[in-house]
């Protein structure tokens, strides 16, 4: 089954592309609609400055509104003579170019009454920038965004397609210009010099309240828009820029500040991710302040994040054995007890914990005792009033023995937000108890369910293990003196009989219990469920009475629960849920159980009243064994194997003997043991000779590559053959290839060839958790260097990773790392083909595993396939 995380990733990447015909057709239609619509007179119609701007190819003006650097450039575009009349303005531009680091807050409004959107930017002298826009934090290097995180309550790495466009544009534009000169601007925008209007920013004396400040005004010559720039007189640095459109109040305000440069770490996405993950995992502290401003050092020594946040995280990470990690809190145990039959209950105050993403969890997650018993959570409640929770844990095994624990350990933990494919558990802490109320039940005003109900549920979950389930039921029957739970007990027995495939007794019991089940349904009101009848239908049908099962299902479909206590909306919701239990949507259990009980497709369809193979809801629930039985390839394979089995059972081969035959089994490549014939194996292949021989002697150390050379003149016939052999040593790959060679008069001669090999060495550094390893490139096709070529939900060993690199680079990889081939290192493997791929591989191996490569010339064994003399 696919993991939820993989499904999420697949859906995020789901992409359907409009073909050119659709694109042209829809767009053409829309443009026509738009043109017609604009022809209609409108009071809002006015000259469109942006359209004019586009026609004049002066697109820079539009960019200027949101891009700080471009703002300055645009001013140049307006015609500021950098070398002449406006000396003060030239100073501003030059000074701005010389600064190493700045921080800017940009506020953008679409019109006079809009709430502004804020963007924050930090840019350093190394062409790196960090941008916070909306709930995203983007890191850029040289104008390209190299990492992005969603910071809406939790840290989540985001893919390129999720990056905020305004942020991406900002990152690009911050480094679009090597220097501020008119020529650069002209080159960057492809504008003919003669088209650039001359407009000089003028000092606005009325706007200057003191001599400390200069204020420049710039008026566009092609629209009513204007800009104002506030500049410090002494330093010549701009501190505020405003652009304004008087038509609607569309405005951009930029507030700039300058200080000592932030650390390299501040601009490094990996450093950000690492420290924030540590903080979250250790303390659970993940407020927006921490997420947005982590690693920011205020030049004045003020705090941008909670004062000791990072120090605390580091301390917590160092003390791994700490029982109580701060950030989240442990609930306070108010009362605890153990019932006569071993159920443990705990009432706790201050129970609610809140995750950084705003969701909550309550009480304790699991318990253990000094007797090493296993428990499972059976029920839990939490009430706002008093923030009190009650958790009930039942022993996994019944009947409960007489031994009593002396110590209970209550554990409070949660699953952390997933950063990758898996979730880490965060331990909030443990509470050890050495005293509790003995033989007492939990507060019944909190949890109304009685202990017997919970124990019956335990029996229900164990019907695969007759002995365990039976023991639990015996205990319950002893305790259920008023026969309050007799119907539920009998239903567990019915399930047990079905699991045992004792359909005769199951059908008898089903008929006996049915009338009571109808009553339960009628009284269940909103909790009524048609699923409660599934076992009855299965029992009766599996016992051979398909007609009766069909009638019963039809009868059930007519049942309507009493929904009078609920309002219309609730009724609608309940009926919708019930409908799915009889029309396919939620019938997976019934469909599976009927097939498992041995019914064929025709009978299943008869009972449910529709074709489950054609119904999109039920189709996936047809068991794979049943589907396989319908598959013509599988039918052919099974017939083939049966024939082999019969043939060689009657006439077994001698140990070591092989036979090579033509095989008419098309499109099947198959190998394995011949059933019921000791030490006999078969190998069916449908390929050409060269491909078949390719893997010869390929088993060995990690990083193997094809060691075969086919000599000139060796033909390459198509093979549609089988090999049957008797091998006490198991399946023989190379021997099969040698046998085929001999059949074609060929032999493999070992030779030597000097080749360049990659020697892998380990630098002794700490290796990352294999589940944290990601391929270097995100998105793109698998042919993109660095993009994922395959993934495993389990694990991938070093040997496989080296094999893949060897194949990609067509070079043997020699493992000199000292790390065993079988060591699990990752869940993802990237495509490292081409020189670019090798470059990426070197970085990937170094960063993730501390493995480096050097090339070496080595004399390597090869096998030359040639004709026998």
């Amino acid at each position: 089954m696919k993991s939820a995380e993989n499904i999420k990733q697949s859906i995020k990447k789901l992409n359907i592309t409009a073909g050119p015909e659709l694109h042209d057709r829809v767009l053409g239609s829309l443009l026509k609609t738009m043109e017609e619509s604009t022809k209609q007179p409108s009071t809002a119609t006015r000259p469109d400055i942006w359209r004019i701007a586009m026609k004049d190819r002066i697109t820079k003006f539009a960019v200027a509104a949101v891009i700080i650097i471009a703002v300055l450039v645009i001013i140049n575009q307006f015609g500021v003579p950098l070398d002449g009349s406006s000396v003060a303005w030239a100073d501003v531009v030059n000074k701005f170019n010389s600064i190493a680091f700045f921080n800017a807050s940009v506020y953008i409004k679409d019109n006079a009454t809009d709430e502004p959107v804020q963007i924050e930017i930090w840019r350093n002298s190394q062409k790196k920038a960090r941008i916070r826009v909306d709930s995203q934090l983007l890191f850029s290097d040289g104008g390209q965004v190299v990492g992005g995180y969603a910071i809406d309550g939790s840290i989540r790495k985001i893919e390129i397609e999720e990056y905020n466009e305004m942020g991406m544009a900002m990152a690009q534009k911050l480094f679009s210009f090597q220097e501020f000169s008119l020529d650069t601007v002209i080159k960057a925008f492809g504008v003919a010099r003669e088209r650039v209007k001359e407009t000089t920013p003028l000092i606005n004396p009325a706007a200057m309240i003191s001599e400390d400040m200069l204020v420049f005004d710039v008026q566009s010559d092609i629209s009513p828009e204007w800009m104002r720039i506030w500049v410090l007189r002494e330093s010549r640095l701009p501190i505020r820029i405003r652009s304004w459109d008087p038509r609607d109040g569309d405005c951009v305000d930029v507030v700039m500040s300058y200080s000592a440069e932030q650390s390299a770490e501040f601009f490094d996405p990996k450093a950000y991710e690492k420290i924030l993950m540590e903080v979250q995992h250790a303390t659970g502290a993940g407020g927006r302040t921490n997420l947005a401003y982590a690693l920011l050092k205020d030049p004045g020594g003020k705090d941008y994040t909670p004062k000791d946040l990072f120090e605390k995280a580091e301390a917590d990470n160092e003390s791994k054995d700490s029982a109580n990690i701060s950030g989240y809190h442990l609930p306070k145990v108010v009362q605890a007890g153990v019932t006569e039959y071993g159920a443990v209950w705990v009432m706790a105050s201050e129970s609610e914990n809140r995750k950084p993403n705003g969701s909550t969890f309550y009480g304790f997650s699991d318990i253990s005792d000094d007797l090493k018993r296993k428990y499972r959570s059976a029920d839990s409640v939490w009430r706002v009033d008093g923030d009190v929770s009650v958790d009930v844990f039942l022993p996994e095994n019944y009947p409960f023995d007489t031994a009593r624990p002396k110590e209970l350990t209550l554990r409070c933990s949660l699953e952390a937000e997933a950063m990758g494919h898996y979730q880490k558990e965060i331990l909030v802490g443990n509470v050890k108890l050495d005293s509790w109320q003995k033989n007492t039940i939990w507060p019944q005003d909190r949890i109304k369910k009685d202990e017997l109900q919970m124990i019956i549920w335990q029996a229900w979950t164990k019907t695969d293990d007759r002995e365990k389930s039976q023991k639990i039921l015996e205990l319950v029957q002893q305790l259920d003196t008023n026969n309050k739970h007799s119907h539920q007990i009998e239903k567990v027995k019915l399930r047990m009989l079905i699991k045992e495939k004792n359909y005769e007794d199951a059908a008898l019991l089903a008929e006996k219990l049915l009338s009571a089940e109808f009553e339960v349904f009628k009284n269940a009101k909103g909790n009524a469920s048609y699923c409660e009848f599934y076992d009855y239908i299965v029992a009766i049908a599996a016992n051979g009475d398909v007609h009766r099962a069909t009638d019963l299902f039809n009868e059930i479909k007519q049942l309507k629960p009493d929904l009078s206590p609920y309002n219309n909306r609730a009724n609608e919701h309940i009926m919708e849920r019930l409908a799915r239990q009889i029309n396919g949507g939620d019938m997976s259990n019934l469909i599976r159980s009927l097939f498992t009980a041995g019914l064929d497709l025709k009978h299943v369809n008869t009972i449910v009243g529709f074709d489950v193979e054609q119904n999109e809801d039920t189709k996936p629930y047809i068991p794979s064994e049943f589907r396989r039985q319908q598959d013509p390839h599988v039918i052919k394979q099974q017939a083939y194997i049966k024939r082999l089995s019969e043939q060689y059972k009657a006439n077994p081969l001698e140990p070591g003997q092989m036979v090579f035959n033509e095989c008419k089994l098309k499109e099947i490549a198959y190998l394995g043991p011949v059933p019921d014939v000791k030490d006999h194996y078969f190998y069916v292949f449908n390929t050409d000779l060269h491909k078949f021989l390719k893997g010869y002697k390929s088993k060995g150390q990690a990083g193997r590559v094809n060691r075969i050379q086919i000599a000139d003149g060796v033909k390459n016939p198509t093979l549609k053959h089988e090999i049957i052999f008797n091998s006490p040593k198991g399946f023989l790959h190379d021997e099969c290839r040698e046998f085929v060679m001999s059949e074609f008069g060929l032999e493999a001669i070992e030779s030597q060839a000097t080749e360049t090999v990659l020697i892998a060495e380990y630098d002794g550094g700490e290796r990352k958790d294999y589940r944290d390893i990601r391929c270097p490139a995100v998105g793109g096709s698998t042919s993109t260097p660095g993009a994922m070529s395959y993934i495993s939900s389990g694990d991938i060993r070093l040997r496989s990773v080296f094999d893949s690199l060897a194949q990609d680079q067509e070079m043997m990889v020699v493992n000199n790392t000292g790390i065993e081939d079988k060591t699990i290192v990752t869940q993802e493997v990237a495509n490292f083909k081409t020189a670019k791929g090798m470059e990426l591989a070197e970085k990937w191996y170094k960063d993730n595993f501390g493995i480096t490569f050097r090339k070496e010339q080595r004399c390597m064994p090869v096998w030359v396939i040639q004709k026998k003399p």
């Binding site: 696919k2 939820a4 789901l14 073909g19 659709l22 443009l31 509104a65 949101v66 953008i108």
Partner: protein
Amino acid sequence: MLEDRRLLKRFKNGSTDALQCIYEKYENYLLTLAAALLGDSNAAEDVLHDVFCNFIERRKRIKLRGNLKGYLGTCVANLARDRIRSRSRVSVGLEATEPIVSDADGPDQSVIWSEESRQLTHALAQLPDEQREIIILHLRGGMKFRQIADMQAVSINTIKSRYRYGLDKLRSLLPDEVNK
């Protein structure tokens, strides 16, 4: 790259260039959303077209609270929901639209599906409408649960439950992990 607010402003002032930029920028995204929501390529094309027709018609009155992508995505979701309500409750899988969902990769194709997209959309089509919508809008549309809850006028907890149930069902519908 001209950012969305600027594009929208130009569009509101009647620029066909801006319309073309917006359409080309979000065409595939919106088509993907619509196709995944409806499980039907033909209907997805119609929704894409209708969303933009409404967009043109109402352009003077559009006032963005969030971003343009989210706005258009919400329009697609609303229109898709209307379509689903108006048609039979019987789930229409992608197989019903086989002529459009072709394996061919030719230039004449209206809609080009990758194999994975096809499998995934096929599985999505088997979910109850309300679960499918939440999964697609949240994961592919990038909408927050709160936004979806507001859009559908149900509680955020209902949205989260439907999302979880939908994902569970998808897990049972999709094949095992790909292993090369």
